[in-house]
């Protein structure tokens, strides 16, 4: 029963695929709507499915995986909602799009619940294959094909590294199950040293997917090249899934090796924060800007993770939850940037937005300030909790780097606001669709009003973190 959500989404995707193939007319709208409904129902199923380990120890369900599953669904639903008419507008309105999203989500929940290095790899590949196709979904577009190819080549490399790391760990531990690995390493110092090499490869493979520096090079290109609705998906769901997995792997089977991996995660965190802050400075394309922003944001999540205790997990989960909401909102705004059906992506295209459409401008300003971590917006609280985790664990240096980089990054977030509010211009964007408006306003409201009721998210994260730490993995 624990695999119910996986089966449900997988079967739903297949039914839709068949329906799409055999339908005479174009049903992409109906299929997208159906995919959203499937995901929403799956969100309910996640809570019906009992906790525990199933499939001979391959997959696990607990409070932590539930939390991450919900975030993945949220990201996917948002990305689908803003794609509804956008895809048609830019000429990629095929029904395969929602189906591929569903298959990617299947991979992600396998990944989140993986309790064995093999199911981890299977989930990783299911997700990646769907994502490769999605990146190149606008196959008539040179940029999209280029993005797809880049993502594929680098993704294949990262899969290879991951698999190599898994084989090394297997060699030293003699098992691929998370529980077995944890046991094998308890007390056996030599095996621990040996497999830390394997862990490095596993870490690198996963770092590719969350675009942590120095494995971030694909991110700006793919963000820019892929159709915006796809980028919205890339920016949210896969990041959550892989980060959740990273938390489970590092604190589960390798939890006893904290001293071996902590420095690595710290380096990844510091590098990502720095690259994200500096790289975004000179970007003119708002999607590239968001690419660098994502690199920086992942750096903060990794800073939380580096602390390596329950507070760290809580910080990571709160950060991811808020990050998903804000990213969806930003991409909702970017999707809405089009003139006469043609997307525009330069930041200057937003000039004069505040005078023409104050609600849109306010929403985008809320997201930008939120990403910059300015109170009273939700992004402040996400940063607060990872800083708390880092300071508790004595990672003062990392926290100082985080402070400096968030100051630098504030410059480019502010630039977007400056262009909208201070510069003159006539954006003249096309009317927004219901889906876009829903995503933009819902995300803006959530980002701005989080401060009034932070308890549900923080409490759920605390609960999820304790579920993870008490289960061991």
């Amino acid at each position: 029963m624990s695999v119910l959500p996986i089966l449900f989404i997988g079967l739903g995707g297949m039914v839709m695929l068949l329906a799409g193939v055999f339908a005479r007319r174009d049903h992409s709208f109906a299929i997208t709507a159906a995919a959203i409904i499937v995901l929403a129902l799956a969100g309910r199923l996640v809570f019906i499915a009992p906790t525990g380990v199933v499939l001979h120890g391959l997959v696990v369900t607990n409070g932590f995986t539930r939390f991450a599953d919900i975030l993945v669904f949220l990201g996917a639903i948002g990305a689908l909602a803003i794609s509804i008419t956008y895809n048609k507008r830019v000429g990629i309105g095929q029904f395969e799009y929602p189906v591929l999203v569903l298959f990617a989500v299947v991979g992600m929940i396998v990944l989140i619940g993986a309790n064995d290095l093999l199911s981890l790899y299977v989930g990783f590949e299911i997700q990646s294959l769907a994502l490769y196709v999605l990146a190149a979904f606008a196959r008539g577009s040179l940029r999209s094909s280029e993005a797809g190819l880049k993502y594929f080549v680098l993704g294949a490399l990262s899969s290879g590294l991951l698999l190599y790391g898994i084989s090394l760990v297997y060699g030293f531990a003699g098992t691929t199950s998370f529980g077995g690995i944890a046991q094998a390493f308890s007390g056996d110092h030599a095996a621990m040293i040996g497999s830390s090499l394997g862990l490095v490869f596993v870490l690198v493979g996963l770092a590719f997917k969350i675009s942590a520096a120095p494995f971030h090079m694909w991110t700006p290109d793919v963000y820019e090249g892929a159709p915006t609705a796809v980028t919205a998906f890339f920016a949210t769901a896969p990041k959550v899934a892989v980060m959740a997995l990273l938390v489970r792997v590092l604190l589960g089977p390798f939890g006893g090796m904290l001293i071996h991996w902590q420095a690595l995660v710290e380096i990844l965190a510091a590098a990502s924060m720095i690259v994200g802050a500096i790289g975004g400075m000179r970007q003119n394309n708002i999607k590239r800007l968001m690419g660098y922003s994502a690199i920086g944001q992942m750096g903060y999540v990794l800073m939380g993770l580096a602390a390596g205790d329950a507070a760290a997990v809580r910080g990571v989960l709160i950060y991811l939850a808020i990050y998903v909401v804000m990213s969806l909102g930003v991409f909702g705004c970017i999707v809405a940037m089009s003139r006469k059906g043609r997307p525009v992506e330069r930041i200057e295209d937003l000039a004069g937005m505040a005078a023409e459409d104050p609600r849109y401008a306010l929403a985008l300003a809320i997201f930008m300030w939120g990403l910059a971590g300015i109170p009273p917006l939700a992004g402040f609280f996400s940063k607060l909790y990872v800083f708390l985790a880092a300071i508790r664990a004595g990672l003062d240096g990392l926290a100082v780097i985080g402070i400096v980089t968030s100051l630098i990054a504030a410059v480019y977030y502010l630039r977007v606001i400056k262009v909208m509010y201070f510069d003159r211009g006539e954006p003249g964007f096309d009317a927004r669709t219901v889906g876009m408006n829903a995503v933009i306003y819902a995300s803006a409201a959530a980002t701005a009003l989080f401060i009034l009721m932070p308890a549900p998210i923080t409490e759920a994260s605390t609960y999820a973190a304790h579920a993870l730490m008490s289960a061991g993995f």
Binding site: P375, L384, F387, L388, T462
Partner: protein
């Protein structure tokens, strides 16, 4: 009335009423002229009701009681020791009232603003809510949210409605303030981790290791120093004050700068007594440098608005000196001066606004001879200039004398140098008055500008009355905060348990 206020959650009302006004304005208006008119009235009435509530708070406040009053406490982040905790004592009470007083005046001052009125008024109401919330917070996290949240409306106010260099000024303002307050975020997180709570009342009674206190003090110094524009953290100030619209400058100079000096009193002194003692000579030196250096800088300005801006920063130096004398006289003087400076500087910037509204230049070389053409305006300007230089009979005198009385307890030379600021400010303020009001040789751009109108009376008269009344009846202010200041000095001194030695050591450190 008073019992009603004591029963109602008045502090929350004071925060949320302007927010409500801002939401109504943003949600209902459109771009038409009729809408702009009603938006102005909604904003004005909101801020006026807010002022009435704040005056009710003042009346209901019991100045004989120590500790915080009208306390409200609600769960906010459960299990983390963070709550929505509000309360006022004698120190914060007056700033709440001052913010509530200056917002309607700022709104009246911008009555003629035509560009994007809806967003403008909403921004001012939000600014009011955030500043008042900051002065009322008794939870460090809540305080930080308000402290930093002020950036958002102020950034837009400078950037959208400012002068020619507005974009640069807005960015500098934002980044300087953010750079200052991010270290405080680390300090906040550290104290949260250390004490397990962010409740300020608890933090005031939590002992912090001396080694850490120094770091925390530096973090607080950066955050509050940038806001209060303590030399050398003031370099954002001339741009921001010069480029912001007049009402924005009023809020910046009168209210936002006080957030910094209030922070020193609320955090640095009671929570970090050892570090405060250790750094007090440094702070006194910075204050004295600010007084003297910025006075000379003001003297060199050719632009009336920038001259007043530098004068404001120089007076903030005086306030810093008063606070870090760590004596009852000095701190009371600093508090008095904070209120007085808020009123006087606001009025002076409003006078600049009056001239700008008549198409006059801000440049001193283009002004002159207005005493004959605008006698009522000239009278107002004269009152505020004299209050600014600390003439007896005005509120400026009381604050400065008290500060000097505190300073002379610490060190004669300190008092002398700080006192020289009074002389210097007379120098450049009289130059200002001569150029603007009397210099007949220069002719004004507009030959016969109309004198002060009804709206301008409404802005300037209350401030003038307050400045004079407080100059004659200083106890109207000192009685509410007297107990709080005694408590503060005792706490800072008591935590050190070496109060008798305190002045002696500081004397040695300053004169060495």
């Amino acid at each position: 009335m008073i019992t009603l206020i004591a029963a109602a959650p008045i502090l929350s009302l004071l925060i949320w009423l302007p927010v409500l006004g801002a939401v109504i304005i943003f949600a209902t208006g459109d771009a038409s002229e009729a809408s702009a008119r009603s938006v102005r009235w909604v904003a004005f009435w909101t801020s006026l009701v807010e002022l009435i509530l704040a005056l009710g708070l003042l009346a209901a406040f019991d100045s004989q009681r120590t500790g915080f009053q009208f306390v409200e406490k609600l769960a906010w982040l459960p299990h983390a020791g963070v709550s929505y905790h509000l309360g006022v004592d004698g120190i914060s009470l007056l700033f709440v009232v001052m913010s509530a007083l200056l917002t309607p005046i700022a709104i009246v001052a911008s009555w003629r603003e035509q560009r994007r009125v809806r967003a403008y008024m909403a921004a001012f109401l939000l600014l009011e809510a955030l500043t008042i919330g900051m002065f009322e917070s008794l939870d460090f996290l809540l305080f930080y949210v308000f402290f930093e949240g002020v950036l958002l409306p102020m950034y837009l106010i400078i950037g959208v409605w400012g002068g020619e260099q507005r974009v640069r000024a807005a960015l500098r303002f934002f980044l300087f303030t953010l750079a200052g307050s991010l270290p405080m975020l680390l300090a906040l997180v550290w104290m949260w981790h250390h004490a397990g709570t962010t409740d300020m009342v608890t933090l005031m009674h939590t002992s912090i290791p001396a080694a850490v206190q120094d770091w925390l003090f530096i973090a607080f110094l950066l955050a509050f120093g940038v806001k209060a524009a303590v030399w050398p953290l003031h370099s954002w100030l001339p741009d921001a004050y010069g480029e912001a619209p007049v009402a924005g400058t009023v809020m910046l100079a009168a209210v936002l700068s006080k957030m910094g000096s209030y922070g020193f009193l609320r955090f640095s002194l009671p929570m970090l007594p050892q570090a405060t003692l250790y750094f007090a000579p440094l702070m006194l030196a910075l204050g004295v440098i600010a007084i003297i250096y910025l006075s000379f800088a003001a003297f060199a300005q050719t632009d009336m608005k920038r001259m007043i801006a530098y004068s404001s920063a120089a007076h903030m130096g005086m306030i810093v000196v008063g606070i870090f004398t760590l004596t009852v006289e000095g701190i009371e003087g600093a508090l008095f001066q904070m209120i007085s400076h808020g009123l006087v500087i606001a009025a002076l910037f409003l006078c600049v606004g009056v001239l700008l509204a008549r198409g006059q230049s801000r440049l001193l070389e283009h002004l002159g001879g207005l005493a004959v053409r605008m006698p009522i305006f000239a009278t107002f300007l004269m009152i505020f200039v004299l209050a600014n230089v600390g003439l007896p009979g005005t509120s400026g005198f009381v604050g400065e004398v008290l500060i000097l009385a505190g300073a002379i307890k610490v060190n004669f030379w300190l008092a002398l140098l700080a006192g020289s600021g009074m002389v210097l400010s007379v120098m450049f303020m009289l130059v200002l008055v001569r150029r603007v009001l009397f210099d007949q040789s220069r002719s004004s751009v507009v030959l016969a500008p109309p004198d002060v109108g009804a709206g301008e009376w409404l802005m300037l008269a209350p401030l003038a009355v307050l400045v004079l009344v407080l100059g004659i009846h200083p106890d109207a202010l000192t009685i509410p905060f007297d107990r709080a200041v005694h408590g503060l000095v005792q706490q800072t001194g008591g935590a050190l348990a070496m109060k008798a030695d305190l002045h002696h050591r500081m004397l040695a450190m300053v004169t060495r």
